[in-house]
């Protein structure tokens, strides 16, 4: 499964898939080191109390795929009946995972249908609607990982100065959706007076990304300017759909 994960990441970053292993043996952690050697995927120890394998009605060596709302997909893959030593079986599994991660946006508003279904119970919610009146429309809330129904959850961009080199560089830190999310574009723009904004994305480089595992489907990224900005400016991040 590590190979499957690595190949998916190498081939196509637009389909973001997480793969986790679960120890079938619920009361024996003895062989966990053997299962995790040379692998960096999470390896979860099931327990008699949690009894995840029965909760999910799993069979030994089943691969259970969940959609973004944690609903099980119809087709299960089994590593015993479909040995991953065969390239054809690896391609079948990768196809199942890619299919589960395909971006679906029936109303073409740039927002994944599952996200609209989760928050609004419908998919035909206008992208420019600001349901919680916090000043951020749905596309921004989706792109920056905030709650569109809570005015306390406001998408934010933290602007700072890096002192790591002689000339201070501007840093912008914000949440970004994992994968290509159907083609969302994140533009970094600058303005001197707050009226005319100029795209400065090419002047910034990704400095750091941090996974949050908080159920938002986002990561926290920090972009740093490649050089010093000689004039004081304001900065913002715009989220645009493809």
């Amino acid at each position: 499964m590590q190979q499957i994960f690595d190949e998916l990441r190498e081939e196509d970053l637009s389909h973001h898939v997480e793969i986790l292993g679960v120890n079938w043996s619920q009361d024996d952690e003895f062989a966990n080191d053997l299962m995790t050697e040379g692998r960096n995927l999470p390896w979860l120890q099931d327990t008699l109390i949690q009894n995840v394998r029965d909760q999910m009605s799993a069979s030994y060596r089943d691969v259970i795929i969940l959609d973004p709302l944690n609903r099980e997909q119809a087709i299960r893959f089994n590593l015993t009946t479909s040995d991953l030593a065969l390239a054809t079986n690896r391609e079948v599994l990768k196809k199942l995972l890619r299919n589960a991660a395909v971006f679906v946006d029936e109303d073409d508003d740039g927002i994944a249908d599952y996200w609209e279904q989760w928050f609004f119970g419908a998919i035909d919610i206008a992208g420019n609607l600001d349901a919680d009146n916090d000043g951020a429309d749905q596309l921004i809330e989706y792109g920056l990982g905030s709650d569109p129904l809570s005015a306390q959850s406001i998408p934010s961009v933290e602007v700072g100065l890096s002192q790591e080199v002689e000339s201070p560089r501007v840093t912008l830190t914000f949440r970004r959706r994992l994968g290509l999310a159907g083609g969302l574009h994140y533009l970094i723009e600058a303005s001197e007076e707050g009226e005319k904004w100029i795209n400065q994305s090419s002047s910034f480089r990704l400095q750091k990304s941090t996974r949050t595992f908080d159920g938002t489907g986002t990561e926290i990224v920090t972009f740093q300017s490649v050089s010093e900005f000689p004039i004081r400016k304001m900065f913002r991040v715009r989220v645009l759909k493809d």
Binding site: H16, V17, E18, I19, L20, G21, V22, N23, W24, S25, E29, N32, M35, T36, R39, N40, L41, P42, W43, L44, Q45, T47, Q50, V52, M56, A58, S59, Y60, R61, D62, V63, I64, I65, L66, D67, P68, L69, N70, R71, E72, Q73, A74, I75, L96, L97, N99, A100, A101, V104, D105, E106, W115, L178, R211, F213, D214, G215, T216, G217, T218
Partner: protein
């Protein structure tokens, strides 16, 4: 229009098996080289992402 049609076709090929999400659970990550080593891991951590769980053991 084509994009919407393609999306509908993909959904027909791989329909969701369950209307309800899987039950929540909490298990600890035992892989020392995993980014989540020693953390409590739950399905809700991966909401808004596609996740896959494989059940195995050393033999």
């Amino acid at each position: 229009m084509l994009r919407g049609s393609l999306s509908f076709l993909m959904m027909a090929i791989l329909p969701v098996f369950s209307v309800e999400p899987v039950s929540e659970f909490v298990l600890q990550d035992k892989n020392q080289t995993s980014i989540r080593f020693e953390q409590d891991v739950s399905p809700s951590d991966y909401r808004h992402l596609v996740s896959a769980y494989y059940f195995g053991q050393a033999s």
